[in-house]
Amino acid sequence: MAAPKGAAPKGAAPKGAAPNGRRRLGPLFIVALGWIALIALAAIFANLLPLPSPTDMDLLGKRALPDAEHWLGNDQLGRDMLSRLIYGARISLTVGLLAPVIGVLVGGCLGMLAGYFRGPLETLTVGGVDVLLAFPPLVFALAVTTYLGQSVLNLTLVIGILGIPAFTRVSRAVTLSLTEREFVVAARALGATDARILLREILPNVALPLLAFFLLGVAVTIVVEGALSFLGLGVPPPAPSWGSMIGEGRESLDLAPWLAFLPAGVMFATVLAFNVVGDSLRALTDPRPGAL
């Protein structure tokens, strides 16, 4: 009787614990986040920026070096490089963000349902995912662009659908391990419905790993979009995207290597930034502070 009372006033964890368990994210994370913010803001407000049109050609200023008017010079058709990079960011980021959204929504839900309910649903999902994975992605992209035409929407759909299997697998794996956990059994023992368990017990625990994976997905998508555009399967010209810029710049690598290397460098930095942010968030996924 007397014993438990003694423990009562001590209530909770040590008083001196770091406020809200906030952990330091390090300067690299800040720099990465800053870069993403810079690119994103530039892309969003491209119309408002005092930039020359990305598609206006200045045939006298082909491959011009940087000057006061064209800060990063012109490309092989005399279009402003900075403007093309920023407008290219629009396409790259739109596709880069939207395609993984398709993956995370469809794949995340499928994976959670498959991992939670098991049985035929799981067999079907895993089978479907395997089929999708076995399908050659380039053939799929070619087929879609051939029959539905080249557009940002189609490009997003193609990459998004190709990304579903990876998200399904992550989400199913996390859910599988969670479903065995006692707090899920506890919720069942309390009489919670399956929907409630999925939303309140499973989803919050799947969300962070999925978010971290989503950011890595953004990075991969930007590269894939670049590759598809480089191959001419991406956004139709003359709209710029980083991939198509690299592809076009390739033709004058010997004359003006920066035409290819500039977009490549921007893409590299952006992809790296998303990876850094994704990795940092994954490290935060564990709710416990740096366990002993």
Binding site: A3, P4, K5, G6, G16, P289, G290, L292
Partner: protein
């Protein structure tokens, strides 16, 4: 008296944590002679595992160890990695709590034993296999030749722990550290494993450190017991003497909190109120004072030293011994 095999002098282990420096082990002195068994008892978080890691030189990278760990006249903390590696096996061996994680799941039992024997004793593969089967038989595993070809997951928990003991014993260590060797096992199996350890210890005249949270485990199977609380040894005495006359209130409370078979059902247990102190916030006085019913201002003010003021052979750290 003979020179002790292991002598730990003023050992402290500090770990950086997000909440500050954690003093897991705080100035511990211990001695173990060849052929003797020392029981180290304490609750989780009292530093007993960190102490065993300090002896084994298997501390986490960020941990800082001070003090001396003398094994057979050498300070382990100052030995180069290569010399230390050679010591592990023939001089120093360990059995961990969870045999499922201490055995490699993708290698057969045989491979794991035979490799140890080949590396440390330089046996040929045939001789090592024969010796491995003998070792398994010695730890009470039936049909040892067949077991050698099995994987850890094909064995029960008790059998896995026997295999882990066989591997630990394979190089005839002079000191065996058993870190909660039976905590993951059922009572009937626990009794068998403890008997096995005691038998092998006697037969080989090894020194053994038996680490546990259960006073019942050390009672019949050790020569000396050290009780740890909040990183320090708070009482240390020959086992019979300790159980006959406990001086430190913590030891007494720990014993009283164990449910007894001879008390009738529904008797309230004399629980120790509260929880151990936060190891990152050391108290100026006795660490047990906040939970101790004998505590007064003196206990809160200064740490009692581990001493034997009555020259009775038992050490305790308390201002108001029982």
């Amino acid at each position: 008296m003979s020179e002790p095999l292991l002598s730990i002098e003023n050992v402290a282990v500090e770990l950086p944590t997000p909440r500050g420096l954690l003093r897991a082990v705080d100035g511990v002195d211990l001695k173990v002679e060849a052929g003797r068994t020392l029981g180290v008892v304490g609750e989780s978080g009292c530093g007993k595992t960190m102490l065993s890691r300090a002896i084994l030189q298997l501390l986490p990278k960020r941990a800082a160890l001070t003090g001396r760990v003398m094994l057979g006249g050498r300070d382990l903390a100052r030995l180069p990695a290569e010399a230390l590696r050679k010591l592990r096996g023939p001089e120093l061996a360990v059995v961990f709590q969870d045999p499922m994680t201490s055995l490699n799941p993708v290698l057969t039992i045989g491979t794991q034993i035979v490799e140890t024997l080949q590396v440390h004793l330089g046996l040929s593969s045939i001789a090592a296999t024969k010796r491995g089967a003998e070792l398994l038989a010695a730890v009470g595993i039936p049909a040892p030749e067949q077991r050698l070809r099995q994987y850890p997951h094909q064995l029960s928990g008790g059998m896995r722990q026997r295999v882990a003991i066989a591997i630990a014993l394979s190089c005839e260590p002079k000191l065996l550290i058993a870190d909660e060797p039976t905590t993951a096992l059922d009572v009937t199996v626990q009794a068998q494993i403890l008997d096995l350890l005691a038998r092998e210890q006697q037969r080989r005249q090894m020194a053994m450190i038996l680490i546990t949270h259960d006073l019942g485990v050390v009672a019949g199977r050790t020569d000396e017991v050290a009780v740890m609380y909040a990183g320090r040894v708070v009482e240390r005495a020959p086992t019979r003497q300790l159980f006959a006359r406990m001086r430190m209130p913590y030891t007494e409370a720990l014993l009283a909190a164990i449910p007894k078979l001879d008390t009738p059902p529904h008797t309230p247990l004399p629980a120790i109120a509260g929880r151990p102190p936060d190891p990152t916030r050391p108290l100026p006085g006795c660490s047990f004072a906040p939970r101790c019913r004998y505590a007064d201002d003196a206990c809160e003010a200064a740490k009692p030293p581990l001493a034997d003021p009555e020259k009775a052979g038992g050490l305790y750290a308390c201002w108001h011994p029982l």
